[in-house]
Symmetry: C2
Subunit: 420 residues, 2 copies
């Protein structure tokens, strides 16, 4: 696949996140205006509701783009998604007859505010990266019991908290929680000292499914509208004390940050790759009928306040043992209905080497091997005022499909969370 | 507290669920009409949107009752809740001058269809009943390790699936899932053979909280709009194989049934009781500043197809170790924002004796001690075509505050869930 050239010149730069091949969907507001649907193209955002109002976009079923969230488009299904994408390519391609009509609806991206691109219905987080599961399992249960017995048969997941999902750029307040170290006599309520990231991808459900009707992996793939980068902020000390027997709860409820642009399944199509070889055969209803992972290079930057950024992780979405389609199929296996706007976190994406681990818990091996940053500081977990940034891109010939930064700065815990 | 008499004569019967003291909120549709907000009174439902349209109800801030869900009223907060309740009592009390004006807006309850009374934002389920935790812990880990070490310090909870919540009367399809017995070599995908109930109460969040701001137990109590009965259908065989290390997922995703009427906090006020004596002191942010549990008698009926019903459990909400207010306060402790329409399941409410256990898992002790039903059949878990009914009521002098049945019939699993 090669670059599709656009009359928006900045979209033709090989290092840019948003060539015409990408066309990711976001919600933006020009200065002083209300949030509206937009598409990133080069250094600009196209106001698609304005383009629709002008008659430049005409969708089957009537106007659909004058909205504060992409959910109505997501619910409309793959045929409409395809129609909209084709029309946007026609409007923005080099030589398009519509350049003069479209140009007034472009705003420089640098000047706009970005919002959550969709209303999150429910949020599910998985634990489907092999190296992450082995690393965490080894730390907590020893190397011989690292993988739980079900892990190679089920994409293990748990329900998260949709109200905690925020868009890139939102500050994150260090949480308070119940903490109890192995040698403490009793728990105490205090700010988390082991606050961490999890580098993940998020898959977004477009078309819903029906209660009582499990979907196949192939059907699940068709239901997915697109992908974002996802940072599942995790308080490891809260998690250690609370998670038995029913899983993480408040440890994961402070915030989950997603990147602001939904990169569509269509844009990622050229980058499909299969999941790794199975270590045990999967039951037929979870088998991949075609490649459903994507080759997306990922990195994490950590920037202390006023200091330079250090890239602390480089990995790839290809490290997942299960694809989002497999996770979604499993999610419906009991008859659970999926909704437009459901968000599925992949699980932490760690690679096989130390430099490719997707959480500080793994990078610092539970705090025993602190990282040294470019400026000389060291970190086992996040310090106050650190900014953490996830970045990702699929790389074609002369272009890349980028996601935009997934960033958050950690602010100190409140002195007294109950002060009024 | 004694009965408040109504001119609706059936509301004055001591055995009825819906005296004027109750005034629970539901969503109903008369034959052929659209769902609308209603209040149960005796054998009738009052159409409150019609009453508002007639000028019989005037709420501060303008009309609010022409809705298909109670969420807008729930979001409006305690002052408006109080205003509406006082007005309804004035309209319906014996001797009210409004009898002639109100009477045309009553429909016989027997002739209406009931819907989910509110749009469920997110659903959280707790594990906060002491006897249930001890019973299940003893079965799974032995008597000496029955309670996890955190249990007496934290109301343990996990996020559930809001899309699975259905109203009483909805049939429940026996789920398929991955099953693996301890002696099986590999898992298989098959219908659950150990499908179960969990007798719970559900607390419904009215006023939301803000991200980053934990709420106190007293504030949490004020946020609760009301309560319902809740049956958290659970596939024990799916749960046993999937739940380590991140908790139950598909085992609890088939359905959660709630009773159709939201019984308000105001109606339950006379029945407040404290939680049981603490076995270990709680951290201050979780302590109850006043009684926040309720004395609500509960029972479960099991009716095989075409046979008589057997009451298989009698217990009381008073058996909980943590109140809903304590659970809600804990839920926000990490800064997690709560939303209007969040539903919090109490956890299974088992009492100290065998006849008071709130799940078949406990009643049959994991299938080792099957129950004998009135008609002579035996049960370890639910059989196809069984109807399970939860009932509950707080009992005053000469009246009861009932919830209406929380009922569901289990239908056989699909022969092939992937047949299209």
């Amino acid at each position: 696949m090669t670059l599709i050239r656009s009359w928006v010149e900045s979209a033709n730069q090989p290092a840019g996140d948003f060539p015409l091949n990408n066309l990711p969907y976001g919600v933006f507001a020009p200065a002083g205006a209300a949030p509206r649907l937009g598409v990133a193209i080069g250094d600009y955002v196209l106001d698609v509701s304005a383009a629709e109002a002008d008659g430049l976009i005409v969708l089957t079923g009537g106007p659909l783009l004058d909205q504060p969230f992409w959910n109505p488009v997501m619910a409309a299904g793959p045929a409409l998604w395809d129609q909209l994408r084709k029309r946007l390519i026609a409007l923005l391609a080099e030589g398009s007859a519509f350049e003069a009509a479209v140009a007034p609806h472009l705003s420089p991206r640098a000047g706009v505010t970005l919002y959550l691109p969709f209303r999150v219905a429910e949020y599910t987080d998985f634990y489907a990266g092999y190296h992450h599961a082995v690393n965490v399992g080894t730390m907590f249960r020893g190397a011989e019991n690292a993988l739980p017995p079900n892990w190679l048969h089920i994409p293990i997941g748990y329900n998260g908290r949709a109200s905690s999902v925020v868009v890139s750029g939102t500050d994150v307040l260090r949480p308070w929680g119940q903490l109890k170290g192995p040698n403490d006599e009793a728990p105490r309520f205090a700010p988390s000292q082991r606050f961490d990231i999890e580098l993940e991808m998020g898959a977004i459900v477009g078309t819903p499914s029906v209660s009582g009707k499990p979907v196949t992996v192939a059907e699940a793939d068709e239901m997915i509208f697109g992908y974002v980068l996802l940072n599942d902020w995790s308080a490891r000390d809260i998690q250690a004390w609370e998670y038995q027997p029913l899983g993480p709860f408040q440890a994961k409820a402070t915030a989950t940050t997603i990147s602001p642009w939904i990169v569509t399944r269509a844009a990622l199509e050229p980058f499909r790759i299969p999941t790794p070889a199975r270590q045990k055969p999967l039951l037929p209803h979870l088998a991949e009928p075609k490649p459903m992972l994507y080759d997306i290079a990922l990195e994490v930057g950590l920037q202390p306040e006023g200091a330079e950024e250090t890239i602390i992780c480089r990995t790839n979405y290809a490290e997942m043992y299960y694809s989002a389609a497999q996770q979604l199929a499993h999610h419906t296996s009991s008859g659970c209905a999926m909704s437009t706007g459901d968000l599925l976190g992949s699980g932490t994406i760690s690679g096989p080497v130390k430099e490719s681990r997707g959480s500080l818990l793994e990078m610092s091996w539970g705090g025993k091997e602190p990282l040294t940053l470019a400026g000389g500081e060291s970190r086992s977990f996040i310090a106050d005022h650190d900014t953490l940034v996830l970045r990702g891109a699929a790389r074609g010939e002369g272009y890349r499909i980028g996601f935009g930064d997934c960033s958050g700065k950690v602010l100190p815990a409140l002195a007294d969370p109950y002060a009024r």
